[in-house]
């Protein structure tokens, strides 16, 4: 698994950039599902694979529940975005990547001396990108995607610090409840949508 750490980190960088830049739920859900594979690889560096796989299963369950609800509820395509806003978010994402590369060595030296550098970089990358996403949108589905990413980032780092069955169980519960809240938001927004006026 150690050999897979650097590809996992690259997957995290790419997928979190995709989630930050694009606003289409289909692209975001795909990227999030892929992101959880990378999270699983990084967690398995610290935990037995049997326990680490819970992160993958829970992540996929959360993603699937949101994606399936979006598929049923959101029938129209999201409005096209101007290239400038995609460019701006891409630039902000690059800035976050740069900051994380600068910060990681000192963070490893002062706070997590015995933790693999890929774990710290991967975790902080997920947290940083999620924070940027939370700061640049006020849309329920994207907020839930960001919060799931944020928690995944924390779980990657925390897995390297301690292993507790109850903590793992509670985090599973929180991830799934967060996904359910996302489903609730999507259903709600669809139900409260004003009826289209009939013409003629």
């Amino acid at each position: 698994m150690t050999a897979l750490a650097s590809p996992a980190f690259i997957i995290i960088v790419v997928t979190s950039m995709i989630i930050l830049v694009f606003r289409d739920w289909r692209i975001n859900a795909g990227a999030l599902a892929l992101q959880y594979i990378a999270v699983f690889i990084l967690v398995s560096l610290s935990w037995p694979i049997g326990v680490a796989v819970t992160k993958l299963i829970v992540g996929w369950m959360a993603t699937a529940s949101i994606a399936l609800t979006c598929m049923r509820q959101l029938t129209s395509d999201p409005p096209p975005e101007p290239t400038a806003s995609l460019f701006f978010r891409g630039l902000a994402g690059l800035l976050i990547i740069l900051v994380i590369f600068v910060l990681t060595p000192s963070l490893q030296a002062t706070m997590f001396p015995r933790v693999n550098v890929y774990i710290i970089q991967g975790g902080i990358m997920l947290i940083g990108m999620a924070l940027m996403q939370l700061g640049t949108n006020a849309e329920p589905t994207l907020t839930i995607f960001s919060l799931l990413s944020f928690l995944a980032g924390f779980e990657v780092i925390h897995a390297a610090l301690e292993l507790s069955t109850l903590l793992t169980g509670l985090l599973v519960l929180i991830n799934l409840t967060l996904a359910l809240i996302g489903v609730y938001f999507i259903v709600k927004s669809n139900e409260n949508k004003p009826e289209p006026k009939e013409e003629g």
Binding site: T110, G169, I181, S189
Partner: protein
């Protein structure tokens, strides 16, 4: 016949079970109402009257309660010392539940409030206590369904609330890991400062301390006032007890002189910003949110004044705050039912049509502001006295900040009493029904009673302090 149960089963699992059943039947209003109200009141009575031996005999049946319940290698301990606090939490939930029959209160409110109280009760007793952060997060997630019911749009305030509260949990868990073994380190070790910063961020995010406070007035304005007043109160007091656990457990936190100064500074600052913003509000619901910020400031100030007896006043302040916030939320919900706008200028002449409702609102605000003879006055008077003794400038600033709510109350009163522009000769009349004005009058009386005899009615709750061995 002898039975053995445990206090966590009674005060955590049982209410969750009842909440699930009542939640399933939420459309059967009477069944839902009876199940939740009876459960909260019964649990409050049980917790308040439980003997120290934790044994209850009813005729030939004897039930022995164990203090702890093991779960996946961890424990939930609800000891005899913490029972007054649990009794208080369930009594407060009962108060909100019993008076939640107003049509605009979300239908799921009663069931979800019971789940929230059960989760927060578990959070108070879980070992290792850091896991409380996860249970508080679950309570926050549950609260979303009542703060943003199905028939309403998801607002930016709710999303901000969800985001900031979710972000708090990792900070607390990380602080817990950093604090492991920190006792052996010298006080000037950078790890000590790091863990304190991470912990402060976590607690600050949870409480909505500046600069993480923006969601409080937003949620207050956008959600139902009965729901927000309950959530603001119950989650805040649980976080405060959780925070006290930290100070109780870690000697270096108690010995660190700067922490008191830091808490006093932030407490005063929160009172100042909360009070100032309240004073200039136009919206009645939004002002509730800003006053809550001020109350958070008072709580921080009390903890910062713990050497001067601040914790005693903090626990004495809880019931006064609970009744004040309940009455405020209750009257606001009724006002919202009768009016299209919650802007004070749009409510001109409201007091002439609904004088008792208006009196309830004004008394609730004045009680929270600490007007003499009302419930919060004894605690707030002592807090100001201690603050002025320690640092006169801090005492004066906190006093000035607290005046903001007084100013807002007088502005509200003036607007509500002034006749409507369209009907300048508006006559005074009582339009409230008895089932509406009776609870208001009863609770105005209770607020005065608590102000006159604080120790007689509230001293029991301060017994909870005995569970914090190092803070007494």
């Amino acid at each position: 016949m002898n039975f053995t149960l445990s206090t966590p089963i009674l005060f955590v699992l049982f209410p969750v079970f009842i909440a699930l059943i009542s939640g399933v039947f939420y459309r059967r209003r009477m069944l839902n109402y009876l199940l939740t109200s009876l459960t909260t009141v019964t649990l409050a009575v049980f917790a308040a009257l439980m003997p120290e031996s934790l044994t209850i005999s009813i005729g030939p049946v004897t039930i022995l309660f164990n203090e702890s319940l093991g779960f996946l290698g961890r424990q939930i301990n609800l000891t005899y010392e913490i029972l007054p606090f649990i009794a208080f939490c369930y009594a407060v939930t009962g108060l909100w539940t019993i008076f939640s029959t107003i049509p605009i209160v979300p239908e799921l409110f009663r069931s979800v409030s019971l789940v929230i109280t059960a989760l927060l009760t578990a959070a108070v007793g879980v070992e290792p206590f850091l896991y409380a952060a996860l249970l508080i997060e679950l309570a926050v997630l549950a609260s979303i369904t009542i703060l943003s019911p199905v028939e309403e749009k998801t607002t930016s305030g709710i999303l901000r609330y969800l985001s900031l509260q979710t972000m708090a949990m990792p900070f607390i868990l990380l602080a817990g890991w950093l604090l492991t073994g920190i006792e052996t380190l010298p006080p000037d070790s950078p790890l000590v400062t790091q863990s304190m910063v991470v912990l402060a961020l976590g607690i600050g995010l949870l409480l909505g301390v500046f600069p993480f406070h923006s969601w409080v007035p937003m949620v207050s304005q956008q959600a139902n006032a009965m729901v927000t007043s309950f959530i603001f109160f119950i989650i805040n007091i649980s976080i405060l007890v959780f925070g006290l656990n930290f100070i109780d457990r870690y000697t270096f936190l108690r010995d660190f002189q700067s922490i008191d100064v830091f808490l006093r500074f932030f407490g005063t600052f929160m009172i100042m910003i909360g009070g100032t913003w309240t004073a200039f509000q136009e919206n009645l619901k939004r002002s509730l949110g800003f006053s809550v910020l001020s109350e958070i400031g008072f709580s921080l100030l009390c903890i910062g004044l713990s050497d001067q007896g601040g914790l005693y006043w903090l626990f004495l302040l809880f019931p006064a705050r609970a009744i004040g916030l309940w009455l405020w939320g209750y009257t606001l919900t009724l006002i919202e039912q009768h009016s299209d706008s919650m802007n004070i200028h749009d409510l001109q002449g409201f007091a002439r049509r609904y004088p008792i409702l208006t009196s309830g609102l004004i008394v609730a605000q004045l009680s929270l502001a600490g007007l003499p003879l009302l419930a919060s006055f004894p605690s707030k008077f002592n807090i100001f006295t201690a603050a002025i003794e320690i640092n006169p400038r801090m005492g004066i600033w906190s006093f000035l900040g607290n005046l903001g709510l007084f100013l807002f109350t007088f502005r509200t009163l003036s607007a509500l009493v002034t006749p409507n522009d369209e009907n300048t000769s508006q006559k005074w009349s009582i339009n409230e029904k008895r089932k509406v004005y009776l609870p208001i009058l009863i609770f105005i009386f209770i607020i005065i009673l608590l102000g006159l005899f604080p120790n007689t009615f509230l001293a029991n709750l301060t017994k909870t302090l005995t569970s914090f061995n190092q803070l007494q």
